[in-house]
């Protein structure tokens, strides 16, 4: 099988945090128009240490500490993107997107369409999501369903270091607004990442992380790794296929359908609140396109429509985890 183009790519082991930082470094080195802006991303290196030392290499003109005014700097990024810059904005915690949403929903998302296609909007917005740190309701939200729902925005959410690199590169190189959602609990997760500086993952492609024939688990972010662990636990008993959804919008209907034609059973695991969100869209695509392949009721694993409580015991209660994925599988297999 092996031929010149199909040899295994060179990889190195790195964490999600390192993959994001190195991708930012490579893309800034590649294109002068790319610059970063956000709260405490330069001198402090980012509150969760993602941008790290980038300001030392690129200076504070290209790694810009902003005032704490999300509406202003999100708008400035939008105006900059409409005039030939390629800004990468960091919103420290995704909950803070609320402050900036006017510029996101009425300007960034709509300008290209309202102007009849006569502008591009090459802006990337990185932000951290998720519970698990005891950070309580205003620093633990998972809001990617809002963004994925809103016409004119693309949304991606990596579950592995390799996906982090490939998706972030595609986001920065895209001429459309792309939101890049980082789950804060997987920054330390390690994996093999292709070293190729042009390694990109197309926006709109899911990835089968583990093949299986009995049940499909479509997972995002932290729940990808947890679902893979569950699949290992169930090995020999239930053959679990695990898909990292990767891209929330556009959404890879074909990969969902292909998997369901094989397994007939579906669990959707995502840290969003359960109602009206990412789970629902995946389920809708499955039902619309693979209805006759389904052999059992679809299962959703997510946050049961609460905010994130502070107390660790309460937080553990509402946060979805591998055990819930396993329960969901066992209900339908």
């Amino acid at each position: 099988m092996a031929s010149a183009g199909l040899e295994a790519e060179a990889t190195e082991t790195m964490t999600v945090r390192e993959a994001i930082r190195e991708t930012l470094r490579e893309e800034m080195a590649r294109d002068e128009d790319v610059f970063l802006m956000g709260e405490d991303i330069a001198t402090m290196g980012g509150v969760l240490d993602v941008t790290g030392d980038l300001h030392e290499q690129f200076g504070k003109d290209r790694v810009r500490d902003t005032p704490i005014g999300e509406s202003g700097f999100m708008g400035a990024a939008t105006g900059a993107a409409a005039t030939g810059s390629r800004p990468v904005v960091e919103i420290m915690f995704s909950d803070f997107l609320g402050v900036a949403m006017e510029q996101v929903m009425n300007q960034m998302a709509k300008m290209r369409y309202m102007f009849g296609g006569k502008t591009e909007m090459p802006v990337t917005v990185r932000t951290t999501e998720g519970g698990g740190m005891g950070a309580a309701s205003q620093h633990s939200g998972t809001v990617h369903s809002w963004i994925a729902h809103f016409p004119g925005l693309m949304a991606v959410a990596p579950g592995t270091p390799a996906a982090a690199k490939g998706l972030l590169k595609s986001a920065i190189r895209s001429d459309d607004p792309v939101f890049f959602f980082e789950n804060k609990m997987i920054y330390e997760q390690s994996g093999e990442v292709p070293v190729d500086e042009d390694f990109t993952i197309p926006l709109g492609e899911a990835h089968v992380e583990r093949e299986g024939s009995d049940v499909t688990v479509i997972a995002t972010q932290r729940l990808v790794g947890e679902s893979l662990s569950v699949a290992d636990e169930l090995e020999g008993d239930t053959d679990v296929e695990v898909i990292d959804l990767r891209s929330l919008y556009p959404l890879d209907t074909d990969t969902i359908v292909e998997s369901l034609e094989k397994t007939g059973r579906l669990v959707v695991a995502d840290e969003s609140p359960l109602s009206y969100g990412t789970h629902a869209e995946v389920v809708a695509r499955a039902v619309e396109n693979a209805f006759y392949s389904l052999d059992a009721p679809i299962q959703r694993v997510g946050v049961p429509d609460t905010h994130m409580p502070f107390s660790p015991s309460l937080e553990r209660e509402v946060l979805p985890d591998g055990a819930e994925v396993r329960d969901a599988i066992e209900r339908i297999v």
Binding site: S71, T83, Q103, R112, K118
Partner: protein
Amino acid sequence: MPTIDLETETGRKEALRRMLTIRQFDTTAGERFADGEIPGFVHLYIGEEAVGVGACSALEDDDYITSTHRGHGHCIAKGLDPKPMMAELYGKREGYCNGKGGSMHIADVDAGMLGANGIVGAGPPLGTGAALTIDRKGEDRVALSFLGDGAVAQGQVHSAANLAATWDLPVIFLVENNHYGEGTPVEEQHNVENLSATAGAYNVPGITVDGMDITAVNEAVTEARERARAGDGPTFIEAETYRFHGHFEGDEELYREDDEVERWEARDPIETFAQRLIDRGELTNEEYEALQSEVETTIEEALEYAQSAEEPAPEEAYDDMFAAEVPEITEFARRVRADGGDPDGGER
């Protein structure tokens, strides 16, 4: 070189022409809206022409502006063509936005016009962003954001102004104080006497000028532009002006008295400026009438262009969402159209 040099006689006449063009464009747009030909709603700039033309004349051709919901005047002042402007108001394919934007979203990014805007206060962050591009790329340009008095209460305006001032970005904030935020008087919306006083919060110059006097506006923007180009950051200019029409066409104007409107109309910025040119011997009454007549022809032609322009095809609704092709849009659009309205549902 400024777009129109008000120091020269030719420049002054051109500025007068642009003000007249705005007046005629908006008079026509108001009439055609009342006749039901123009859909949606329109906000007319009549009465405020000296602000837009005074400001844009002081800019250079490749400077950026961001505009407001009351944006027709800014477009014409920036040099946009009344034909595709009117076609956009009519929702036609030949419009600046192919009929997708309408009155409140006319834009011509290549001409530096970053869009009218339906959200009060959304322009200043965008203008700040354009100034950020200018600053980062070392370009010899500035950005100017028009905003209304009502927008001064918006958080995002403060957030952007603070950013622009802190980073010394080459942007000018021009507050068109027409004394009413929709139907609420400015005194009931702000606790400062002059809205330019807010500049103090950012430690940048804030000045109030007579917005009915094109020269006063022009001089203020010229100075602000020099300051921006020198790397000294933004300036807040408040231009005191008045809209002779309601907030939108059809507004009953319950919030103001006729005599107030008449007092401001007596200070008509176009008549005042024309009279000044006549008094100086730069313009004769005959020339003024000829100019008005030329402008009427320009707008008649724009109207005919818009009226006879093509409607966009229904499927064009699915264009322009993204630069990239997105399967959802093609797929969902295909489904919408698959049955062509056939009650039996076609191929769904």
